[in-house]
Symmetry: C3
Subunit: 278 residues, 3 copies
């Protein structure tokens, strides 16, 4: 049974998402459809890439990912289908896929050219649905497009490396209000080489990166004097990005790290390592 | 495998939607359940009809659509099941189905009368679930209700036609803040007969209807001086309704057509055609 | 085909929910996954229990319920799996399950101890997914954990019984703004024994509990002078809890019972019964 995922900025109230699902089930009744997210900020390519990058790998190889963000076909926005890391992506060529896996080369890219062949085609997404179902039935990419040597490249916000300093930035704020930076555990370890460090992010400075959220709690102390929800902390999250968090925060009531520490999208996060004495 | 869709005003936080799904899977383990929308404004029949009208046609014929909006059984709100355009609808008789497809005559309508036959029936929706599963198993409508000659008719807001003028109104504001009117492409073409026109909607007046959103961009001009996101435009959308849009708008940040141009539900949209000289 | 439900505080925008689903489909392609709720207030155990308690029973026996709220493994927050009322629950041992079915004794409880056996384990939820798929394949609880005699007990807010008075409290506010109390129909009937009563909740006092919402309408009166949407009422809802409602309210526009009558979480609801003359 084929597995097709959907990532869009359609929201959940309108009929747009269900129209997409209806079209898929009409062509291919035996399909598993999984929503990755429909709450992408409208037309936000960086956010789409961030969410999809962190989600796709948990799906089985051979999964087909439809990306419905900024899909209108224009001279500068072609439709492409590609095979990357064993997964199929069907999306506009607006840089999203280059941001999903910058370090992995797609093993096949085509520019979709079947737009004129689809009956009753009402929107760009009908084309994506046809391509997805074609792949799901075992069809090859060559049948629905012409080979493309390259996709459009967009470079994500990248951390800058100075003498003994990494300057990254916040790339996402999650449901808990936690602020996630583009500094990975790998970069931190390679560049820091175990040296002592100081991290500054918004109104928060620390010398410590935790392994998990609850490491902020000292379970040996008496329950009554333990640090409580509301404590600030940094850790590498499950996707290995440096994250600034408030322990058990609720952004809808007391606020989360983003609002409480002033860490919006693109705010800088600076790690200064102690200089090795010469 | 039967396909059942759900359209409700239950929201996504409470247990109501999952209770419905659990009940369906308990009766019929092999079912595909698709959410059309659960974010209908509470008790809003016009909104329900708009969303369902635009969604149902993309599903395969034979699909079963449960409508969970304003379902409480009262002397003036019967429960009905009907076959319309090859699709089954199970819903209260409050005018929703008459608005879904005003031009199509249902081929069969019954008033559901099995309320007393359901064990452990906790709510109206349990009845709808039983009816849906009965149909999904191939059962006929006659078994679960008595034939009804007519359903309640509600007339949607309809455009008014004047001498050389169409006066429609906004019937829906979507996730992008785009304002959708009840003026269809068909009406525009039939009534306008190719004459020049002027359209006024809120604070926006135009003489042009585009084919697609990106037609607002002149791709022959240099990228640096091209019209940018934020431009106002009108087009017939994928459901053939006249839509007033802001190119690449985000209602949560800069605002969308509805807020920026003053186009809420029921606001008028006027098309004046040039009068043919006598 | 196994049925796995998900109840989390992940929200619907981030990649967290889809990562969970991808992981399940990777291990067990033939699974039905149903979202119970992903909009639990962050770390709110009482809310999780309320929603899950009302949802789980409608699912088929043998369903597997993953609870992803406050899951981080700590010395005081073990991971457990249990069989309760014919349903499997996989969750942290933070009191949630004791609140789901306080009157039903789990027939089996284990403390999950396979954390070290999972490859590429990125988060606690990977462990829950492995346990769920193990159970779905027909595996026993003993293989993935060691028997536990007891789970952590949390007592929900319980109504207090006075001389001729029940003092309960609001435990949940739903999508319609209706305020749901912890006073059940059973308690009311047992304790009241048919005596006349007065109920006070926030700014609303009544002597009447309706059978259904629309009982507030007198369908024998002329339509024009009938009570309209906006009327206040009390009834026992489909889960048999005393609920304070506004007929056909919309909390996003005119407000619901919670905001209009001052009935937030934990607000008291008092029923005074007439004292039997001695």
């Amino acid at each position: 049974m084929a597995l097709i995922t959907l990532t869009t900025d359609f929201g959940k109230k309108d009929h747009y998402v269900s129209t997409l699902k209806g079209a898929i089930y009409s062509l291919l009744p035996n399909t598993i459809i999984v929503d990755i997210s429909h709450e992408i900020s409208p037309f936000n390519i960086a956010e789409t890439a961030y969410i999809l990058k962190n989600a796709y790998q948990s799906f089985p190889k051979g999964s087909i990912h439809i990306v419905g963000v900024d899909t209108e076909l224009t001279p500068t926005n072609k439709h492409i289908a590609l095979l990357l890391d064993g997964h199929y992506f069907i999306c506009p060529d607006n840089g999203i896929t280059s941001m999903i896996a910058s370090e992995i080369q797609p093993s096949k890219i085509v520019e979709i050219n079947i737009h004129d062949r689809i009956e009753n085609c009402r929107s760009e997404l009908d084309v994506f649905v046809h391509v997805a179902c074609h792949i799901a039935r075992g069809g090859t990419l060559d049948v629905i497009g012409r080979p493309l040597a390259n996709i459009k490249h967009l470079v994500e916000l990248q951390p800058t490396l100075y003498d003994s300093k990494i300057v990254g930035s916040i790339i996402y704020v999650d449901n808990y209000g936690n602020a996630i930076s583009n500094i990975t555990k790998e970069l931190f370890q390679e560049y820091g080489k175990g040296r002592p460090f100081k991290i500054s992010a918004g109104r928060y400075t620390t010398h410590q990166i935790l392994q998990k959220y609850s490491d902020i709690i000292d379970f040996n102390s008496e329950a009554s004097i333990r640090k409580a929800p509301g404590s600030r902390l940094m850790l590498f999250n499950s996707n290995n990005f440096l994250e600034i968090a408030i322990y058990k925060s609720n952004p809808k009531t007391v606020g989360g790290a983003s609002t409480l520490l002033g860490l919006n999208y693109r705010e800088p996060v600076t790690i200064e390592f102690e200089q090795t004495p010469k």
